[in-house]
Symmetry: C2
Subunit: 160 residues, 2 copies
Amino acid sequence: MSKIEQIYMDEALREARKALEEDEVPVGAIVVYKRKVIARAHNQMRMLKDPTAHAEMIVLTQAASYLKNERLTGAIIYVTIEPCAMCAGALILARVKRWVYGADDPKAGACGSVLDIVRNRKLNHRIEVKKGVLAEESRILLKEFFKKKRRKKIPKDYSL
Amino acid sequence: MSKIEQIYMDEALREARKALEEDEVPVGAIVVYKRKVIARAHNQMRMLKDPTAHAEMIVLTQAASYLKNERLTGAIIYVTIEPCAMCAGALILARVKRWVYGADDPKAGACGSVLDIVRNRKLNHRIEVKKGVLAEESRILLKEFFKKKRRKKIPKDYSL
């Protein structure tokens, strides 16, 4: 894991912490383009009451708006956990170049844990994937969130 | 194919035609809840310059906003083509009950054509799927769009 990857993942973790403060599943993401952070967001599913408002989806929309292009060719996305099927599918549509993530998601991860969408050879775009960057920090945040939820007896079907 | 399914798919096709008029890939979707259409949208990827702006994603956000809930339990979605990985993943997250679609998408379809996300037993929600409703009408719209694109020599990597 390179120093630069840690610095960027730290930015994504900062977003995840904002989600935790807002009682959302703590996931954060940023988009880097030509060494500049052009989008940053955290999960806002419950606040927006929108099943599509995952951190990754929000940053992709932000980054496309910044670049005035629905293709994010050359962009790198940093996200604190392994994306789900929806987010992995969106990364392919956005033609993201590289994608760096922290912790695995054994329940819904779509980069090898449950599905492997990103490296599917039948799809028309391939993304470079790097996993495990500051994974422990991401996991600690998730654990903290679910511990708090259990205390409040919130339904178990909370998903990332 | 029941009469009611045809009527609802006709509504989704009306949305797809709007996309065609706007030079977008002609895909339309509606959400039905308690026999009422609560959301309708068409693909707006290019107009919004947003890789996530597929018809299905827009209707899910609209329907969640209407129901004031990020879970669309009991909702039925009608979409003119087989959803991609992103949209299929979003349908799972939204806990949609049933999903009816028209034509298959052999290039990116995530309900059996390229991937099979919706019926993946490892994921925590199962959706009833019905395919082939007014499929020919959907296919004709798509053919018309790509024929027009070829004439204009637009890059080939247009995806649904």
